[in-house]
Symmetry: C2
Subunit: 344 residues, 2 copies
């Protein structure tokens, strides 16, 4: 019997996918991706994704307000839709509430969800309420749409493509460090900046739409599991590999300050921290500059070129001093089961 | 501050619905119903529903196999789609797994889901895996479709309509009694029958389609919360009331046997037990016989006439001895929060 910790989260997903019958032809992208892409009788693809926040796994109730939690659960789902170049439409919210939850908590949670849903132009249309004896769970399912001519998938990266990313990576992991170690000696400004990026991440929805409409992007994913892990998702889906250039990775001064105070190599957070919700995408080398300009002009967001797609499988990171770090198969970012105790 | 136990599950749903902005016009039915009905660019409505199974709330792990749990989570969602007259298409599965879960559990769970999904002609297209410190949660979101000319909603019941139900009610609650009190003195046959109806309920998918196509049904819902509670959902949505005839309620001999052994009035289970997953619907008095025949001929399932729709609000049950039981506002079936301890 293979244990869940041996399989890991992505091994278990593969096992599940292999156990199910082949999907019908209307399923353009099914199990294994962040977003299902579905053909309906209409002229646009339907998108469907879900993401969960579990108490004491994804958040600690004392360290987050219900309003922040509501904002975050929406943003992380909107980010999945954004990574396809799509538009969010409708959501179902499944709440599993412990006995000590009060009405004010539910009010705050929905207040946060409402704010982010309005920003995304989407509506909550249903859901479910249940109780639990123990930890709170918020499961959020989001539907969206995208034109078949514009959709961006993980697959599609080609050897020679340049790898780009919106914004900066690492702040969210630095923010988590502040929550775990509130007495860390860092400036108030850095503390506030990284904590906000962890607690209320922002989906790159406009940027995703602009990138999709540009017609220049070959493959795209959002950085939720961690830069290397999400890069690997693109590589696997595209049958390619990638080289990331450490010196080109966009890291904020605030993230660097927190990592120094924590005595951690900032690249650990940047490469494997996760929850950045930036868009990671590949373009032909000759269009990189144009894409950067298009995104900047339309949204004000900067994109950095951080590596290139290779023929050979695997993801490796090249450092400025000439050293190289390879990431072999196996969990390198957020993996729900990798840390679990081995069963028999 | 109003407590969740004062509000109750349905009060909380109303509170949430009122806190959200008015839905856009594409949302035909939104929060408050079991199924969201959504207009897309295609020629059919999109249906979206979700339902959850929480360990130690909806099931006890020692009393159910993972295969049974997988079957049930699919069936209860398919039942919601069936109650609109629609067809299930695609599902997302969100699994929140405690540390002691083994791969075999996940295999069994997906095996059960696969069986019921294949019966329903639908496919699992994605989902999410997470861990938890404590109780297992399976959240299941199901999408479907229905023709705008055929859709059946809770609203639409008219005074004078007869109220009909497929199959029988009460068995599921009797099955729960067997799980809670395994030593109850009942025959093996009754035990097996009611336990199966509790653990592996069957959605009335074919019956729902036939009823929708008949063009004769005014309003429909599935019996998940309990007969009186779901009747009340139809009445509220239709601005009407209902009278149920106790002597006409279809109850199996097996259910009666278990209720007698348990020393319970069988009507308590029949009226408020819930999880029957039968279809409850209203038709004009003159078409009741025709509808019964159509369903019987197409599916083999019997439908019973169990009451009538009234002008005045509320649900009351008339017994054969001339007595009457009124069900005032407030929880009368499964309510997640009604039993919770009052907070301050």
């Amino acid at each position: 019997m293979t244990s869940l910790s041996e399989l890991g989260e992505f091994g278990l997903i593969r096992r599940i996918a292999e156990s199910l019958p082949p999907p019908p032809p209307e399923v353009i992208v099914g199990i294994g991706d962040d977003v299902a892409v579905l053909r309906t009788s209409g002229n646009e693809y339907l998108l469907a994704t879900c993401d969960v926040q579990v108490e004491n796994v994804h958040f600690i109730r004392s360290a987050v307000t219900p309003f922040q939690l509501g904002r975050k659960i929406v943003a992380i789902n909107v980010s999945d839709i954004a990574a396809t170049g799509g538009t969010p439409l409708w959501a179902l919210v499944s709440l599993v509430l412990p006995p000590d939850i009060e009405t004010a908590f539910v009010d705050g949670l929905y207040g946060g969800m409402r704010l982010e849903m309005e920003k995304a132009g989407a509506a909550i249309v249903g859901g479910n309420l249940s109780r639990t004896r123990t930890d709170l769970v918020v499961d959020f399912s989001l539907l969206g749409k995208v034109s078949p001519g514009e959709i961006l998938l993980r697959s599609g990266a080609r050897a020679g493509d340049l790898i780009c990313i919106t914004g900066t990576v690492g702040d969210s992991r630095a923010g988590l460090e502040i929550l775990l170690h509130p007495r860390l000696a860092v400036s108030e400004q850095s503390r506030d900046h990284v904590r906000a990026r962890h607690l209320t991440p922002q989906a790159r929805l406009q940027e995703g739409r602009v990138l999709a409409r540009s017609g220049l992007v070959h493959a795209m994913a959002d950085v939720s599991d961690g830069l290397v892990q999400d890069m690997r998702h693109i590589c696997r889906a595209s049958g390619a590999g990638a080289e990331l250039w450490a010196d080109e990775l966009p890291v904020t001064q605030e993230c660097r300050e927190v990592s120094t105070a924590a005595g951690v190599n900032v690249f650990d957070w940047v490469l494997t921290g996760g929850e950045d919700y930036e868009l990671l995408f590949t373009v032909a080398a000759e269009s990189a500059h144009e894409v950067q300009k298009i995104v900047k002009d339309a949204t004000g967001t900067g994109c950095h070129v951080i590596g290139k797609i290779l023929d050979q499988q695997g993801v490796r990171v090249m450092f400025g001093d000439g050293t190289e770090r390879a990431f072999p198969e196996g969990p390198t970012g957020w993996d729900h089961f990798a840390g679990m105790k081995k069963d028999s």
